[in-house]
Chain length 341, copies 2
Amino acid sequence: MIIALDAMGGDKAPSATVAGAVESVYMYEDINLVLVGDENIIKKHLRGKSYPKDRLSIKHASQVVDMQETPTIALRNKLDSSIRVAIDMVKNEEAGAVVSAGHSGVALTTSLSLLKRAPGVDRPAIAAFMPTLKGRFLLLDAGANINCRPINLLQFAIMGSAYYSAVLGVQSPKVALISIGEEDTKGNDLTKEAFKMLKASKLNFIGNVEGKDIFRGAADVVVCDGFTGNTTLKISEGLAEVIFKMLKDEISKSLVGRMGYLLIKPAIRSFKKNTDYEEYGGAPLLGINGTCIICHGRSTSKAIRNAVRVANQVVKININKIISDAIEGSLNDIKEQELIN
Amino acid sequence: MIIALDAMGGDKAPSATVAGAVESVYMYEDINLVLVGDENIIKKHLRGKSYPKDRLSIKHASQVVDMQETPTIALRNKLDSSIRVAIDMVKNEEAGAVVSAGHSGVALTTSLSLLKRAPGVDRPAIAAFMPTLKGRFLLLDAGANINCRPINLLQFAIMGSAYYSAVLGVQSPKVALISIGEEDTKGNDLTKEAFKMLKASKLNFIGNVEGKDIFRGAADVVVCDGFTGNTTLKISEGLAEVIFKMLKDEISKSLVGRMGYLLIKPAIRSFKKNTDYEEYGGAPLLGINGTCIICHGRSTSKAIRNAVRVANQVVKININKIISDAIEGSLNDIKEQELIN
């Protein structure tokens, strides 16, 4: 399988992306990687590295999208940007998937424009795994759609369920809606309407969940609008970071604490590994005709390498077919219900 | 100062509320407490406890609001509920403040109905302190207003700034808006409009903040709609709890880890004390004519006692006057600007 990697995207690009690419071709033998971006810069970063030349190539793109750009403007004006050229490769079937740690809004807009929505999907969503006490849950939308309608949330739930089943082998994953109270009467206008639609669907909908339940592992698939999802993602990340910092500061205040810290350090390392976004790799954009994996802007080479692994897996399970079938199935259910009524 | 305590409100009421009341009268010598609720039940919980009888009394209320009730219905039908009778005491100037760990929606609706909005305030907001790396920030609205307009967010910022200044003695607290990107073009319809209004105000507005910045202490006052605020609060709470549980599980896997844990336990305890919601007590409802402190539903006696402390402090600094002045000041600023333009 060929994977196009946006070599210029991300805070640590191109050093992290190039290093991640080299690591990937060593670790995953069934993939070929194409680094998309400025050929001279990429070559400079590849210098001195040894890698199988036949499995790692470069495709030149002269432009780079930076984080401040407006997606629609970048889409219109930067026809030779690394992200666009990479997505174009998927469109032209030169690559099976694209991975980018660049501007996620631009990756989204360009994917939508070049690859188009999957049939029956109004709004594609970013599906991000996050850790819980029991394992992990899938959060969507993690930031693709800022303003949503109730039908979007239903579709996120259908796509998320199908993806979760396919990746983790769980038959009817538990679906929940982020709200601010467990009762169906609680929430904002969006969640109240979405609640009704989810309840009427054939999904394993368990109702509203609050922040405190999510991390305990109350649900497998957690849906919300992209504003709430992105806030949830970033609050969690920020808080986890700060908790460790504060705890370490507190521990370092005494000699006994510092000794204790040395003893628990391996456990902390192992805990961090289990919960680190770098391990989760990237988050696929579900609901487009093609595979696009969106990575954290701060992605290290390890995060990139894991995103390549996710891309490979997503294509292998044929996620697009799985999602089309799930969406079509739910449309048929609705038609059936209408015939009965 | 007389404080009316809703003795029947909260998951652990009345045992936690009664115990919290007894602790309060011992700790804060300048307050008198009135436990509002079923007299027989309260008496039963007071039995065997020693306390200054002249400073802790009971006011009977025959009904209790439970967590599943719809606020407007509870307001209409439960005229003798503990929360309503307690708020009525503030209205009739029999008490200077009310503290409740019961149904926050009912506390809000009843406060609004009986005490009314402060002049110039469209929507009162719950203002909750949360810990950061550097100290703490004030989050509002933490859950009173699910659907908000931009003007509400501006008013939250004005009220929050005034409160933060009064409590922590900071001159022009840094105000920020929760959004999903730091640039002013990022966010949803609500935050984009609110951004413009905040920028045009005389507040020390530093722009959008994301979840990751909040806990690092980027801002003093953080505003958002009540849905986002409540989600932020509950995600943070849930995540912090789960991080400690997971970390402890990981540490307990090895003998060395368990030994290390014993050494860092005092530090963990101290860290938890600094960040525990119980220490923060309750969150005032800003923007009403009167003082109402909303507590966590799970409040222990310690949380209740700290909420009583907050109530006492809020009344002493005359927060209502401070907020009226701030709102009036900002209205004058707007008029001035209009005259100039």
